[in-house]
Structures are given as structure tokens and as C-alpha cells.
Symmetry: D2
Subunit: 353 residues, 4 copies
């Protein structure tokens, strides 16, 4: 029951506050003898980092990962992989405005009540900065899962959405625009909306879709550790996530069984894939796909009513540089958490026979 | 990593196939000295059991729970609570039609491929019959959580939905109709739809909403064991579930931050509750509410194409008595899983100071 | 953190009080497709059960195991194996003498203080009756570990001990006498001592040695889950156990490094085996062997001073039929726990590459 | 199942090889609002570090701990505490002699076979250097357990032992000599033996005794997580440990029940304490005490036969500076592991009512 550990066999334990010395983590249970390219890890970190484009927060952070153990001569040794990412300029900022009042729809208030004290510098542990550690581990997992393709993309920003199934999209386009939406015309609309929202000092939510190709049949552990149950838990643990659906999802509830059922072909594939690649909690070899809902970022550049630490009414307004929409930067986080689940469950499955 | 165990401190481990001798479970970590009324447990089982109304499967099963340990003189002793529910007439039925072919959108095929063999009698371990054990444990948890109210209800069947927030509904009406929908006119429409679907030999999906009142502030374990992450995993582990959203959920993605943020009142409550009672993974004392999406039942009374164990095309059709819509019977299951999570997390929280 | 669950991948969860309806358990993570012979399981239970010879308690209990799930057509299905063992005549006995006073060196007092109440009938959950469930699971594990031989035997009763290393003993003799000591002349002395102690209304302690042959090299999970660490935890969890040592053990502390080091042969075997088959927490392919110390049984047929539930001095004396020495019946329990560890760790090791 | 994580609620996860960049760890589940004095942590590290006296290895290492997160304004925040200890001069040494051959009774051979490769620099992950991280976490745990005294001391080196029970020793003397033996004349003999053994280029084993005073009654989680079972697992996970016994231990096996039973006084204390402060796996409020057996260090300054990576016979001899006897430096490690268990179990116990 370590709440800062994710996974069962391949595990990630993380530490660090947004404005402490550093953040970091320990990956345990990593299979030995796997070649890991740190440049690819850094590349995924760069996809998540602030300041990468005009539609994200303009904070400057390097997010440079240092591997401290577990790799020897370029390969995993089977021992824990420790890593850190230094926080930059973590001592210079002024946090007096959030030290003495609670930001609406942030975790400030509940952290202080739960733990009795809190590191008020920039959200402390509740900051999404923590997700950089997930990207490190997920990126390593993706390299080990070399035959499996995991692609996430932005499918919705506010009310603008791609109206095509993932099978009709070219994933090579995802990284070709700032939004990480593989449909270029929709991406443009999304980008315009985000720019407009920023101008308003406001924020907007969105949806990320993730597609996992080539997962072998048989991955998933009924009855409580069904594959989609763990994927759901993984996604819901990401900051700002409000919902998860896989396969036909919420829309599938409107369908009849006769429409919804996926007919099995003689080769074991299915004619349709409303099941989202998972039946009874176990992968069936078809594409696994799911949607993740992100709320609008809580920090806005407008005055909002709130209370201070003595329960008195006060007014609060975001300072510094924040994201008008979190989904473009959350794409590598969704991929990372998906990779952690899939690799973990593939390793578990090895012990089942 | 026991995939048939749920929970961290208050845990439930279950066993049993739909057509074996019996199903059952072990509850561990139950606080001692708590009075448990077995009649209330049986009552929740009766809400789940087949044959309870005309809109559910007409199979007859008693679902009588026997407690084997852990209670002494009517109170919990702090030792594990073992229990069984006998399967009725489990030897008499004919399963030849599913022994040699795989039912579409069931787990038959993936179980056989994953494990190398399967108990083909009625779905075996993948049958929703297993959820009766969850209801037993959840019902015991609900009794221990005496100050916390957990109410689930059907909010949607096919395209028919209640168009009111939970705050405008009277939960006393939930058990007054067969559908378990607290809005009586909508309930009637839903019932008619289910009867029509049954007549067609077909099935239909739906949504269950669950509301948890009076959870103390401070429950939830960031960063990977956020309260909504565990609730999501719990719900997604229920048979036929395809999605989970809490608070503003998927609709919240369309909102602006300035609309979505929940302003904090001087007493710590919030003016709105888009957060769904959870901020940063920790309960804030407001109502926790979430939606759970259920797909249409896969067993239909129509011929469907499929394959047999040698990969040859065949035709298959449901036999016996099945549910045209699973949501009315799933209401106590959703409540049970919610209770398991809330009690478990309240116990965890005791160890945090 | 389920304290009534043992293991990581292959897990056993148990329930039951000595004088409740029944005891039982759930085995999870059992590989699928393994043939299990229930007669062999029953045979191990019979080696543990009361009344089997004149040197053990003369209570009569059948200890008949009933398998409720997880086996189909004689093979494991990969789903949880539920089982129960009914308690016999559990309602008839008089426990008034221990209801109101605490037996010295039993768990009565600490259970009542820890949990606030206790099932005072015959020790309740703290009774060694619970170990029958371990024998069931261990016996199933032994069948799956078909190439690995696990043999435990009594090496010491009071001050009488075998003065030979395990390599000079014929394990075929273990079951040929009531004590389960493979050296027949020592067995005779031990038996005489036990009979004398019983006549005195007293009890005596002893040591069980366990030898595991043919464990593959590479089993064990540093740094906290070293193979001997888990074996130690397993043995120390058995009722009445006070110590665990492996390889050279406590005697090895007197040696010099130059004597103690096990020189490696070109084939990977070692010339000596002071390491007890485990180096750095990982099996090296040599025989694994360890000793387990059992205290004298606490229930004696003599008057002893104690206190009652109001803290007043009282006198207490064992009633009914109890073991004068626990080690002969504990042999299958030690084997069972060893089998659970070895199988679990072999399964874990499959996920390491 | 993270094998580099110890504990259930208060957990420690560690990483790091002896000659990599650094070692470190993450403490999770630490209660919030606790004042931590880092100087006291450093003091315990200094008790473990090389070069502290003439009877230990003369390697120079600073072992300076850096805390990276989880503390704010001198107090714990309830979030994970990350820390690192840099390895000094880790790049300069020559390891060619152990790169190509396996040291007898070290883990070189089994690591290479289990994982397929290994970091051969100074033992890599199997080095006892890893235990410095345990001392950090244990020292923090000791500060939180302010009312509970945990004292370990050397009770035996080779055949020289203290022949007094712990109740007759003055623990203030432990740190007054290099051996950490509270009996000064015995300490002198031990020191002489260690110096003699070093001169011989050899090593010798020993025993550490640990005494825990003031543990509240009720700590321990039957049936598989008995307090002594977890203490045993903790101690057996320390490098070079071969055995664990608590209370009367192996000697108790020779006793009769009538001698061994601890009579309960009206105030709940016991007249004797053969139980070692634990009955049925639960603390009874008396002193908890146990012995831990350490084998002689495997690295000796003499030629030994071994094999190289191609299975050919070779000769190997220790280089550099090594401990002739490990027990003086292992005293703070034993205390640390004891503190981790006791704090973890006190936290677990809070969730039991």
C-alpha cells in the first residue's frame, strides 16, 4: 500500500514537489538485458515540458533526466533504476499569494486539511510536475515493448473534436502540430480556440484518445485486475482527469447487443471492435483504444473568490505562466501510463503458466 | 499481486465459477467490534439476484449467504470473514453449445487462449455471478460506514435518461420500481424499453449514477491512489462496464476554467460541485458522484455468427434465461464496490497521522 | 496489506477459527493446466491431523478438504481455488475456563486487548488449526513443483538431536516412525521422551529441518525479498516457531571466512554448502536447507497461575487433549510453507526477463 | 511485488549499486507533521560508514545524505521523502579481477546467471553499501517512534560472547567501544579477536542482539504478518545474515512448557519473558528482543580457488580494504530495520479499529 508506487511487477515509485530540490523515481522489476536509449527518454520528456510551443505555458524548465542506477553498459541489469530531474530556480519565486489562501478547484485546501501542513510552493506534491517522472518510466517501458505501438493524440478541445475513428487517422501527423491532433484541419481549429481562451485569461478542457496496437492476446488479470480496470486507474491518476472510457464507451450504452457484439472471424480477429481490444478484462489481440477526459486547468488569469487560511473570504488570481489547455502536453503522459500498464501486465502474464 | 483480491487494508478475495459447487470470499482487515446484521446483507443480495422482477433474467437462484468465520456473538472479531453462496442445480444444465464454440463479445475465447483451458459451464469465472460476493462484502462495509450514505440508481437505459442532477432526486424512490430509477415517469419509459428489447430477443445498455454523501474530508491517497482512481478501477472491474466519469466528467471537458472552478465558501464547502467531491484525489466533504457505463448484455436470443474450437465458422444463439438489460441488477454491485473503496480508504487514512 | 494472505504471485488467503463452522482458504495465481490429485492433498492433511499416533493429541478430527472452485476436469484453470475444511462438533465443547481467564504464553490476552473482543472457543483464530489450510495449499504447490523435492523432518526434541548432516540421512525413513525423524534410533529416543513428558502433564520443544533439492539457480528477489528472507518469514509465521536459520546458521557465526566460503566448481556447484543453497538471496542450485525452532506447547496439564478478565489472579489448567510436542505434526506444515515460497518465487522469476 | 521495497504502510524503496553514481531511496507513507533532525540521521549513517575505527574497513566514504523532498520547514509533509547518497570516486577503481571471475560465497555468480548480466564493480547491487539507505529510513522512523527505545549491540564475535541477558546490560556503554558491545571486558576480547583475524587476512562472524522497549501492546498482524515474522524477514534481508531467533529462540526448544510459559501478572506484565515480548504474533508490552546471526565476511585477503566466466578454474584474492568482521558496522542496520518494522506495524494497527 504505497500510494506513490504504480504497478505490480514493473513498478514506478516517485517523489518530489514542484518547487523542491528535484523530482525523481525508482523503477523496479525492469527485465534485465534490455538496451535503453536515454535520448528517446529525453525526447518524451521534451514532449511534456513547458515552453515547447506557443499554446502551452511559457515557463522554462529543462526537465533533464539523470539516471543514477540500474543501467550498465547501456543495458538494464534487472536492479532498480533510480533517476532524478532537477527543479530549476526553485528558490526564487514568490508564493505568498497561495501560502495564505486556497486556489479554487486545486488541491491546496484538501492537502492542508488531510496532512495538517503543506508545501505551498506552486502546488507542492499535487502539481502536475510529478508526471514528468511517469514519462521517464513510461518511455523506458515503451522501449522494452518494442513490438507494441502506443499512440495518444488530442481528439477534442472544448467542443471541437475529430469526427473520425482512430482507424482513419494517420498517427504520423500527431507531432506535426502544436496540439498533437493527427487531423490537421481540426488541429488548426483547436489551436485557434486555445489561443482565444488564453487571451481571455481562461482555460479549456479536452479529450485524449490512446490506441495500443499489437498487444498479444491474453493480457489482463480478472476479476479485479482486468486490463481496462488498470488502464482506467492509471489514466484517472493523472492530474485533471475526470473520466475514462474504452471501446464503445459511454456511447455504447445506447446500442443494442445485436449491434454491439463483435463477431469473431476464423482467425480470431473480430469484424467490429466495440470491445476496444479487451473482452472479460483480457486483451483479444485487436487494437486497444480508450478516451481520457481532462477538465479545464484550474489556474486562470482572472480574479476568483476564495478563502484564506483563517476561513475569511479573499480574492485570488493566477500568477506566472500557466497552460490554457493541458491536453497537448498530456499526450506523452497518457502514453507513458499506458506503457507502464501494458508492460507490467505482460510480465505478470509470464507467471501464469 | 492477487488479481482476485480487491482493496488495500479492507480487502475482499473471491473465488468461484458460475456453475461450480459454490462461490464465496474472504474479507480481511475488517475492524473489530462492529455489529453486523446478516439480514441486511441478504437484502442487498436479493436486490442483485436473478428472478426478482419481470425485467430481469427469470433464472431462479437463492443466493443465500453463509458466514463461516470472523463474526462472534454478532460482532466482527477483526479476523477474516469467510463466506460462501451455494450454486443451485449446478450440475443439471447442458452447455454443449458453448463448450465447442465461443460466444461473441464474451470472454470464452480469451480465457481459453490465456489459460489453455476453461470451465465452459455458463461462463465459468468470467460470469457476473461472481459479483454476488462483492455485494456481500460491500454490504458489510456499508454497515460499518453507518454515517455515510451510498446510493446508486439507473440514470440511463439506451437513449432514455433522467435529465436532472442527483441533487433534485428523491433516493427513497429508487427501490419503488423495477428499474431502480428514482424518477418514476422516466422509470416507466425505461421499463417499457427493456420489455420491448426483450421481446426482440435483444439487449440494451445503460448508465448507473452513484452518489456518496458525508465522506469526511481528507480521504484519498495521491499520487497513484487518488480516490477517484480507485473508484474508477473498482467500477471498471464490474462485468460489462465500459466507462467511468466523476463530477463534471466528459461534459466538463467542454467547459472553461472560469465556469468549472468550484468556489470555496468560508465553511469549506464549495458553491458548485464540478469536482464531484474530490480535489487532487482527496475528498473535500462535498457529495461524491460518478457515472458508470454498461454495455448491452452480450448474450442475445438471436442467431449470431461465431467460430468453434477448431476455428470453423458456426452459428450460436443464447439459451436459457438472460437479462435484457443489466443495469437494474447492477445497482447494488456499484454500491458495494463504492463501499469497499470508501471504507478501505478511511482505514488507510487512519494510518497517515 | 492483507495479513491473512501469504505470497506474491501464488497466494494463499485463509479464514477460520478453531471452533467456528469451518476453516478454509483461497489459492490465487495458480498456473493453469496442472493436474492436481486431491488424494495427495488429503494425505498431507492426514500427516498433520490430530489423533494420528499415540504421541500426538488424541482429539479426533477428520480434516477433510472440499475443493469448491478452480479445478475443472482434474486440472487447474488458472482461476482461484476455494476450499473448506469443516470443523467437527464445534458447538459441543465447554470453554468457560478460558472464556474468563487468559492462558499463559497463549495469544488470548493480546487478542482481546488488540481487537477488543475475541472468539474464546479454543484459541479462535490464534489456534494452530489454521495451519491445515496451509497444508492444503502447500500440497497443491508441491504437486506443481514436481521436479523439486521438499522434505522436512524432526531433527531435535528437547535435548535429543540427530547428529548427522542431512546429506547422510535417508528421507524414506521419515514417515516410518511417529516422530518423523529419519534416524530410527534417535526417533526411538525422541518418542520415549515425548511419552515421558506427556505423562508428566508437560510439553517439550523441538527443531524441524527442511531440505529442498533441485531448486533451479536464480530463484530469489534481492534486496528485500531474498529467498531466505521469505522462507524465514514463512516459517516464523507458523504457530510456536521461535527461530529460523539456514545453511551454516548460528553455528556459522563462529567460523572464519576461509573455512566458511563455498568454493565454486567448474560446473557451478560448490565444494561445501555453508551457504545453504542461497547466495545473495538467490538460489545457486545446491540443496537449500534450514532449521526451524519450535517452543514447547503452551497448554500443559498442570495448574498454572494466571489472571482473569478483571485482572484478578486465578489458576488455569489445560483440558481436553493436547500435543505434548508439536514437531511431529508440524513437519507437513513446514513443507507446505516451503512449497508456497518456492513456487511463488519460481513464478516471480518468470517475469524477470 | 516490488522486491526493492520494504514495508506495508511506511515503506522504503531503494536503488543503487556500490560503484554507480549514487544510492538512494524513497520513503512513502510517512506520517505528516513530524519534526525530523537530519543530523541524527547523519549520525546513524556515521555509525555504519567505513573507516570509523581501526577494526572496520579503512575505505573512506562520506556517506552524506541529501534529502530531496517530503520535508518542509523541518517537518514531514506526508508526501514521499526522496534522498540520495553520492558514491565517492566511483569511477577510479580497477575491477578486472572480479569482472572475469566469481568470488566464492558472494552473489557474483548467481546475479550473472539470474539476470544475464551484472554490474561487476564491487558487488553492484549485492553490495552491503545498499544498507546505508536502510539506515537513513530507519533513523527517520526512530525519530517518529520517540517513545520506543531500539538498541542493538554485538553479543557475540566468533566464540566470544556476552554471557548475560540484556536486562543486566547498560546500553549507554554500547557506543563506548569500537565493537559496540555493552560489556566492556567482553568488548576488549572481541576487539582483540577481530584484530587477530584481520592480521591473518581472514574474517569472522558474530551475533547482534536487539532490544525494543515500550512497544505498545497489540502490535502485529496474524496470521501471516506476525510481528516476529516481519522482524525476521527484515533481519534476514540484511547482507550476511544466516539466522534469526526471538525470545527463548533455539535454546527454548530444549525447555519444558512448565518452565517456558510466561505467567501473567495482574497488571498484564509477565513474570518471565521467554515470549520475547510477542505472543501469537502480537506484542504484549514486554521487551521485544531477538538475535541475528552474521556469517564471516566472504572477502578474505587470501588466495582462494574459483572459476572464471568461462567456467575455468582460477584463483582469486580480496583487494582493497574490507571488514574483518561485519557486526560492529551492522548494529545501526539492525536498529534501522527494527524501527522500520515497528513504525510500519504501529501505523497498520491504527487502521484496525
Amino acid at each position: 500500500m504505497s500510494s506513490n508506487t504504480f504497478g505490480n511487477i514493473f513498478t514506478l515509485t516517485t517523489f518530489g514537489e514542484s518547487h523542491g530540490d528535484s523530482i525523481g523515481g525508482i523503477i523496479d522489476g525492469c527485465p534485465s538485458g534490455k538496451k535503453i536509449n536515454i535520448d528517446l527518454v529525453q525526447n518524451d520528456l521534451n514532449r511534456r515540458k513547458p515552453g515547447q510551443s506557443k499554446i502551452v505555458t511559457q515557463r522554462k524548465e529543462d526537465d533533464k533526466v539523470e539516471i543514477l542506477s540500474g543501467l550498465f553498459e547501456g543495458k538494464t541489469t534487472g536492479t532498480p533504476i533510480g533517476f532524478v530531474i532537477k527543479n530549476k530556480d526553485h528558490k526564487s519565486t514568490d508564493y505568498s499569494h497561495i501560502k495564505e489562501s486556497y486556489r479554487p478547484s486545486h488541491a491546496d485546501y484538501v492537502y492542508e486539511k488531510k496532512y495538517g501542513n503543506r508545501d505551498y510552493r506552486g502546488g507542492g506534491r499535487s502539481s502536475a510536475r510529478e508526471t514528468a517522472c511517469r514519462v521517464v518510466a513510461g518511455s523506458i517501458a515503451k522501449q522494452i515493448l518494442s513490438n507494441i505501438q502506443i499512440n495518444a493524440y488530442v481528439s477534442k478541445v472544448g467542443s471541437i473534436s475529430i469526427n473520425k475513428p482512430h482507424t482513419e487517422l494517420d498517427f504520423n501527423n500527431i507531432e506535426k502540430n502544436n496540439v498533437r491532433c493527427p487531423d490537421s484541419s481540426t488541429a488548426k481549429e483547436m489551436e485557434e480556440l486555445i489561443m482565444k481562451v488564453r487571451k481571455d485569461g481562461d482555460t479549456v478542457g479536452g479529450v485524449i484518445t490512446c490506441v495500443i496496437k499489437n498487444t498479444p492476446l491474453g493480457i489482463g488479470e480478472p476479476v479485479f485486475k482486468k486490463l481496462h480496470s488498470e488502464l482506467g486507474a492509471a489514466m484517472l491518476s493523472i492530474n485533471a482527469v475526470k473520466g475514462f472510457e474504452y471501446g464503445s464507451g459511454f456511447d455504447g450504452t445506447k446500442m443494442r447487443g445485436s449491434q454491439h457484439n463483435d463477431i469473431i472471424n476464423p482467425d480470431g480477429t473480430t469484424k467490429t471492435n466495440n470491445s476496444g481490444g479487451i473482452q472479460g478484462g483480457i486483451s483479444n489481440g485487436m487494437d486497444i483504444y480508450f478516451n481520457v477526459a481532462f477538465k479545464p486547468v484550474a489556474t486562470i488569469m482572472k480574479n476568483q473568490e476564495s478563502i484564506d487560511s483563517e476561513g475569511k473570504k479573499t480574492s485570488i488570481k493566477g500568477r506566472g505562466r500557466h497552460d490554457p489547455c493541458v491536453v497537448p502536453r498530456a499526450v506523452p503522459i497518457v502514453e507513458a501510463m499506458a506503457a507502464l500498464v501494458i508492460l507490467d501486465y505482460i510480465l505478470i502474464n509470464k507467471s501464469r503458466k
